[in-house]
Symmetry: C2
Subunit: 321 residues, 2 copies
DNA sequence: ATGAAAGCGCTAACAT
DNA sequence: ATGTTAGCGCTTTCAT
């Protein structure tokens, strides 16, 4: 028998379907004897409850759908880590889909998810049109992570990039650094630029060193810029952190592995908070309006930042904002 | 109406449920006029087919479950890329779950997946017990990627690590390198070691340089070792590739970004082949016995390997195997 | 081309 | 404590 049903189990155990159903859902009001007979029959048959049938009949599935923009993005992976941790803690079952960077795929993935009638969905997809999100929210609880959506049926959990930049600049200032270059090597300008001192922003690794007074510290905007900056500095023969300190806004496995000092809102925490918010709403313990939750950035001091030696200090203005 | 049903659409369009069902599944035998009326009603109502009901009634779901060992592992992410590409091409819908490295979680994740009665599942989980895999195969088509399982109801798609090491060694030999150190920096010995010349294996970055004759090339076993090796070499002041060539067995975004020469069976191809094999079996076009498919390694020559300069060549034995 | 009717496997409210 | 029954939303014959 490929897929034994409740009825098969009931027949084998010599009881009614309903009794088996109760046992499978762990009801306390079943005699120990019968319960064990049912469990044994189920095991012998290799019975596995059919979630489709269960969901249909019960009107809810116990499923939480998760849409991740791109699995290859470490940030997404880490958000998922937090989501999954909290889900396990609270007994929710997660189903993932991804759009892999393409808007059309993302829509399709979300549709697939919603077709399964999950009790809620978490959207970790920076680019999805707000209208799609709103549409999804008509059918089930929706929490968006990593961005903010103006809607009162959607909850949002976000980090704070500007605060992260401020924290990084403050840390460098504490270490005595006054000449800090903000490196942004990405193909598109990083939104974090707006939080940097305008004339400190450079878009090529060696650009800051063409100035009469080279920086004593580099603030890299985003993970990719961070790793690129580190190898560029090393290749250019600049000693890190002796000669120049490096701090990255945005943490990633790469920065961690290379022991680069970083500051970011921990993605895993974004995830776990998002899941908590979602499950609260599903169980009806949430305020009616859309909640928004901001996770503060955290500094991970590792091996690429160091206090400026006294001899090199100067009285230039503190870049801290 | 939170979740309009087929019946609601039928009522609004002034037709029968069956007709709506046909239209939703794109049947050709519906008059253009009625079809459009139905489609319009569906759109106006925000109708979305209920996959649960559909799956229950139809006996198959059109769903393919994917179990990924760990999202943070770039290899898994890339396998998924291949899976998803092929799935899109052939019209399958993917649902992911992960065990995040823990065996118990993995079992639970697989159970969740199987409870949804997918038409098939892809298992990208090196550590899962063969018995669990076999059990899953009792209920639906199963393809395992990245490892081999002895079972004739399971299809396997794997890479070939030993061939990758041989290819890497051959490439270095072609470049004139005779003294090659095989670096294995992982916490556990890499299985790839068995494919290396035994006395060439080192477990610390600088170990090879303590020998009287330092290597002219380094072969790193695995991605993590690869990136660790690169930064270690640079930090030690060894010029790459002028002074020493570096080749990594096992490709990853990190190696790609750092432009490290690498050789590996492309994970995306493992994925797409696995999906192809699975869908073939689902549609019944597969041989009865378990298929096994081996994807050959590929060399990605980037910036960390270089031919040994003539002056440094010597007549030591070729390490190629 | 269209409609009617019988389930798919399960839950939940009810009856015993 | 246990059995009965009426659906959940859909697909799929089978009639018309």
């Amino acid at each position: 028998m490929a897929h034994p049903t409740l009825e098969d189990v009931a027949a084998r155990a010599g009881v009614s379907r309903a009794l088996v159903s109760l046992v499978m859902r762990g009801s306390p009001k079943v005699g120990k004897e019968r319960r064990e007979a049912v469990l044994r029959a189920a095991r012998e048959l290799g019975y596995r409850p059919n979630m489709m049938a269960r969901g249909l009949a019960a009107g809810r599935t116990g499923l939480v759908g998760v849409l991740l923009a791109d699995l290859r993005d470490p940030w997404c992976a880490e958000v998922h880590e937090g989501l999954a941790d909290e889900a396990v803690r609270r007994g929710a079952r997660l189903l993932l889909t991804t759009g892999r960077g393409r808007a059309a795929r993302e829509r399709a993935a979300l549709d697939d998810l919603l077709g399964l009638r999950p009790d809620g969905v978490v959207l970790a997809s920076p680019g999805m049109p707000a209208a799609d999100i709103e549409r999804a929210a008509a059918g089930c609880a929706v929490t968006v992570v990593g961005r903010s959506v103006r809607s009162d049926r959607v909850d949002c959990v976000t980090g704070d990039g500007a605060a992260a930049v401020r924290l990084a600049l403050a840390h460098l200032a504490d270490l005595g650094h006054r000449r800090v270059a903000c490196l942004d090597l990405g193909p598109r300008p990083s939104p974090l630029r707006r939080a940097c001192p305008p004339d400190a922003v450079a878009t090529a690794p060696d650009e800051p060193w063409r100035a009469p007074e080279p920086p004593t510290a580099v603030l890299a905007l985003g993970d990719p810029t961070g790793t690129a900056a580190l190898t560029a500095l090393l290749r250019a023969g600049r000693r890190v952190p002796d000669e120049v300190s490096l701090i990255v806004v945005g943490d990633s496995p790469g920065a961690r592995a290379a022991r680069v000092t970083a500051v970011a809102s921990p993605a895993a925490e974004l995830g776990s908070r998002a899941m908590a918010v979602l499950l609260d709403r599903i169980s009806g313990e949430a305020p009616a309006a859309g909640r928004r939750d901001t996770v503060p950035p955290r500094l991970d001091e590792r091996d690429t930042t160091r206090a400026l030696s006294l001899g090199r200090r100067e009285d230039a203005p503190d870049l801290r904002q």
